[in-house]
């Protein structure tokens, strides 16, 4: 559904992405992991046509080069890391924005557009938000609302940039479970940047590890979440553990803990 060949993005003299080649099969969920600045967001934005890139991107068998904004928005729904939520806009109006690529230039939303959005609000348990301004929403509700807007685009590809960074652990799992359910309901292809490596391993079918703008590793979670790979790119203290249930958990060891343990706890030095 998505594939790239030699994708390259430069910002002035800085190379943000270099010869990135990857592919995501239809219906697959691929997680993008990597340290800060590795190029995860840039890759998602390049696929969504929001930054200029060299190389080739195929979306559903077509190169994305000649697509208009509207055509691209019907193929790709992009959820940014920090969506702008106009505080006085109602939840219903916000989800209706997702219908933009389906509405003619001089036209307004049809009854069908409203029905689609009402159903999505219902699906996300957000019907009560249809008439309420966005400033009244909790973080979790805002998260689901942004997902609802993305789904309203009815695009087969969903790009998520750190979809859970603003949520607590329980809400993170809820949000990712929801993405997974929606992926199956709507036959979506999902490519998401995920900071939390444990959750990335639990939810994505495959992981792509980016480092310094290049693909450092890719494959099934167990093949990418390896002590040697992660400590090379995230720092020496990162370890992969396996739980009793056979799940991978990525933790970070504090190198200084032993040293600090020798000092009196309630008399901070300096």
């Amino acid at each position: 559904m998505i594939s790239t060949a030699d994708l390259r993005v430069t910002f002035g003299t800085a190379v943000a992405l270099d010869s990135v080649s990857l592919s995501v099969a239809a219906g697959e969920w691929v997680g993008l992991i990597g340290p800060n600045g590795a190029g995860k967001t840039t890759l998602l934005r390049a696929l969504a046509g929001m930054v200029r890139s060299k190389g080739t991107v195929w979306l559903g068998g077509r190169t994305s080069g000649g697509l208009t904004h509207r055509q691209l928005a019907r193929l790709i729904a992009y959820v940014p890391q920090q969506p702008q939520l106009p505080p006085e806009m109602t939840g219903g109006d916000y989800v209706l924005l997702g219908r933009t690529p389906h509405i003619g230039y001089f036209q307004v939303e049809s009854e069908a557009d409203r029905r689609i959005c009402a159903n999505l609000l219902d699906r996300m348990a957000l019907s009560h938000m249809a008439g309420r301004p966005l400033r009244t929403m909790s973080g979790g509700e805002a998260q689901r609302l942004v997902l609802a807007r993305a789904l309203a685009q009815e695009a087969p590809i969903l790009l998520l940039d750190e979809p859970t960074s603003a949520l607590d652990l329980g809400r993170r799992v809820d949000a990712l479970e929801l993405v997974d359910e929606l992926r199956l309901e709507h036959s979506l292809t999902v490519l998401s940047a995920i900071h939390d490596l444990t959750l990335a391993g639990q939810f994505a079918d495959r992981l792509v590890l980016l480092a310094n703008g290049r693909v450092a590793a890719s494959g099934e979670p167990a093949a990418v979440l390896r002590d040697d790979l992660l400590s090379t790119h995230f720092g020496a203290g990162v370890e992969v553990l396996m739980t009793d249930g056979g799940e991978l958990a990525v933790i970070s060891r504090r190198p200084s803990r032993d040293r600090l343990a020798g000092q009196p706890a309630d008399h901070p030095t300096g």
Partner: protein
């Protein structure tokens, strides 16, 4: 560590695609015919909502369709603004230094309508109403609509609450054009076209300089491509520079022709004292084009409220949208300035007052700003010609002296924050 990924079989579902493929949409015209009446028949949910107070947070039931509340709100705000405009127009025609009875006012208007009943009205009353007051009221309404609508559009497209129709150099360019005509001693009939050309030329200069600079800057620093936009900031900054440059030229011309100072200053202060039907005819094509074009973009301006980047990812060509809206708003503002001089505050106060009372959606703000701006300027002009009658107070003084305190009142009494542009 062992390769065990419990629970979730990878690639669980098929490759089905719920959205129409790119081939299907290619056949659909990008520009669909304009068939968008703003207040489409609202459903029963909308009717329920309409009874609620617009100021309170509506607690909608689960049945309410997205957008229903907004549509009810648009209709209500348009009705209120239109009622205000009708009152303003009636007052504007009825009030004046000459005492004309209300019945005679009505008759004087009536005899110019087709199939009017047989009425008799004195020639003097007829001339006062039809030749003096009515064109002045109509011109004031058109100017007010263009300044307020243009201000709202500029604020939306630049996402900047301080934007007004003069932002990109309309005022400075028109001032230079008008000053040139006045000092050259040419016929006053040349004033409107010179001001209009100056205004349009200034904005064209600003836009080409600013958009070009933004594109180069983006390429160098952020690698932004054709799908992203040249920064609005560089366009605004170019506007500041162009306005300063043209104002410098205008001031130089003005000071080196001291004998014309009075008439130049009179033009810059703005006013409707020279209004007649020929001026209405002169600007009405621009007013219509500008109003229709701006109103046609009210939905896209709402999409822009989530930011240029996200609007782009939703399928909006932001650079093209911005160019079209700027052209439309500039046409209207330049036409207004050409016949009325530089009337300040309308373009910034009216749209914000609408936002603060009726909500920030451009489906409300654009049409209601136009109607409300028309009403506001007609009322301000009544004050301008009656406060010190028979002398006239410059209308810009009235719009600022009345508009600014009113605006501050609305600003202080609003309950909610943010979302200003």
């Amino acid at each position: 560590m062992k390769a065990v990924a419990p629970g979730r079989p990878p690639g669980a579902d098929g490759p089905g695609s719920p959205a129409p493929g790119p081939g299907a949409e290619a056949a659909e015209p990008e520009f669909a015919p304009a068939s968008d009446l703003p207040a489409a028949p609202a459903g029963p949910a909308a009717a329920d909502r309409a009874t609620e107070s617009g100021r309170s947070v509506p607690t909608s039931g689960p049945q309410s369709r997205p957008g229903a509340i907004s549509r009810a709100r648009v209709g209500r705000a348009i009705i209120v603004a239109t009622a205000l405009l009708v009152i303003a127009v009636i007052a504007g025609v009825a009030i004046g230094p000459a005492q004309v009875p209300l019945g005679a006012v009505a008759d004087a208007v009536l005899i110019h309508l087709p199939w009017h009943p047989v009425v008799s009205v004195s020639a003097i009353d007829a001339a006062i109403i039809w030749q003096i007051r009515l064109p002045r009221v109509v011109l004031g309404a058109l100017v007010g609509a263009m300044l307020a609508g243009g201000g709202a559009a500029y604020q939306g497209v630049f996402r900047n609450p301080l934007a007004d129709p003069y932002l990109l150099g309309v005022a400075a360019g028109a001032g230079l054009g008008a000053t040139t005509v006045i000092i050259s001693g040419a016929s006053p009939a040349l004033l409107p076209p010179a001001a209009f050309i100056g205004a349009i030329g200034a904005v064209a200069l600003t836009y080409s300089l600013g958009a070009g600079a933004g594109r180069r800057g983006n390429e160098a620093s952020q690698g932004a491509g054709p799908r992203t936009t040249a920064g609005t900031a560089s366009i605004l900054l170019a506007g500041v520079a162009v306005a300063a440059l043209l104002t410098a030229g205008q001031t130089y011309l003005q000071q080196s022709h001291a004998q014309s100072l009075q008439s130049i200053y009179g033009w810059i202060l703005g006013g409707l004292s020279g209004a007649d039907w020929s001026q209405v005819q002169l600007i009405i094509p621009y007013v219509l084009v500008s109003a229709v074009a701006l109103l046609a973009h009210r939905r896209l301006l709402d999409v822009l409220r989530v930011g240029e980047t996200e609007a782009g990812s939703l399928g909006v060509n932001v650079a093209r949208l911005r160019l079209i809206v700027v052209i439309a708003a500039t046409l209207g503002a330049a036409a207004a300035v050409a016949v009325s001089g530089l009337i300040g505050f309308v373009g910034i106060i009216v749209p914000h007052a609408i936002r603060l009372t009726a909500g920030p959606s451009y489906r409300v703000v654009l049409p209601v700003s136009m109607i409300g701006g028309a009403a506001f300027l007609v009322l301000a002009d009544i004050a301008a010609r009656t406060v010190q009658a028979p002398a006239e107070v410059p209308i810009g003084v009235i719009t600022a002296a009345v508009g600014a305190p009113f605006f501050l009142f609305v600003l202080r009494s609003r309950r909610t924050s943010g979302d200003v542009a």
